[in-house]
Symmetry: C2
Subunit: 110 residues, 2 copies
C-alpha cells in the first residue's frame, strides 16, 4: 500500500477524533462522564441541552469509540470509554491557560 495514502488516512482518522472533541457541549459531556457513567437525561440537564441534541452528540462520541452505551430498562447509560482523552483535553486547557496568562501579562506591562 502507498505509504503517503496511509499517512493521509491516519491523519484523517486523527482529525475525526479531534473533531469529536471540538464542540463545547461535547467537551462538557466528556468531563461529566469523567465523574462516572450517566444516562442521557442526566447529561442533557448537566450540559443544558435538549434531549435530541444530547443524543446526537453522544452518537458522535460513540462513533469515535470515545463513549460506550448500555441500555438499562428505560434508560441508556453512557460511559467514558477512552479516559486517555481527558489527558489530552487537560493539555489543551493548559495551552489555553498559558495563552490567557501571557495576555494578562501584556496588559500589566502597558
Amino acid at each position: 500500500m502507498n505509504e503517503q495514502i496511509l499517512k493521509q488516512e491516519i491523519n484523517h482518522m486523527h482529525a475525526s477524533l479531534c473533531a469529536a472533541v471540538a464542540d463545547p457541549h461535547r467537551i462538557m459531556i466528556i468531563y461529566e462522564l469523567e465523574k462516572g457513567p450517566k444516562y442521557v437525561g442526566e447529561l442533557a440537564k448537566a450540559v443544558d441541552l435538549s434531549q435530541s441534541a444530547t443524543s446526537r452528540h453522544l452518537k458522535i462520541l460513540k462513533s469515535q469509540d470515545i463513549v460506550s452505551s448500555e441500555r438499562v430498562g428505560h434508560y441508556v447509560t453512557y460511559t467514558l470509554h477512552a479516559p486517555k482523552l481527558i489527558q489530552a483535553l487537560n493539555i489543551f486547557r493548559a495551552v489555553l491557560n498559558d495563552q490567557l496568562e501571557r495576555r494578562a501579562n501584556l496588559i500589566n506591562l502597558e
Copy 2:
C-alpha cells in the same frame, strides 16, 4: 460574573482550540512545524495543498496562537508556538492506536 457563563465561555475557547486541530491538513502542518520553522511554500508542498489554502490554514492556527509568523524577505516563516499541543496530538494518536488494536484483536478472534 456568573460562574456558569464563565464555564461555558472557557469550554467555548477550549473547543475553538480543538477545532483548530480538527483538520487533517492542519494536523500535518503542525507535525511539519514540529521539525522546525518553515515558510508557506514549503508547507504547501509538504501537505500537498494550494498556496492559498495553506495560507488560510495557517491563519486559523495563528488566530489560536498555535503558530507565530515572521516575515523574512519574500518569505514568511511560521514557527510552532505551542509545542505542548504535540503532546495532546500524540495522546490522540495513542487513543487511535488503542482503537485499531482492539479492532484487530476482534478480527483475530473471529
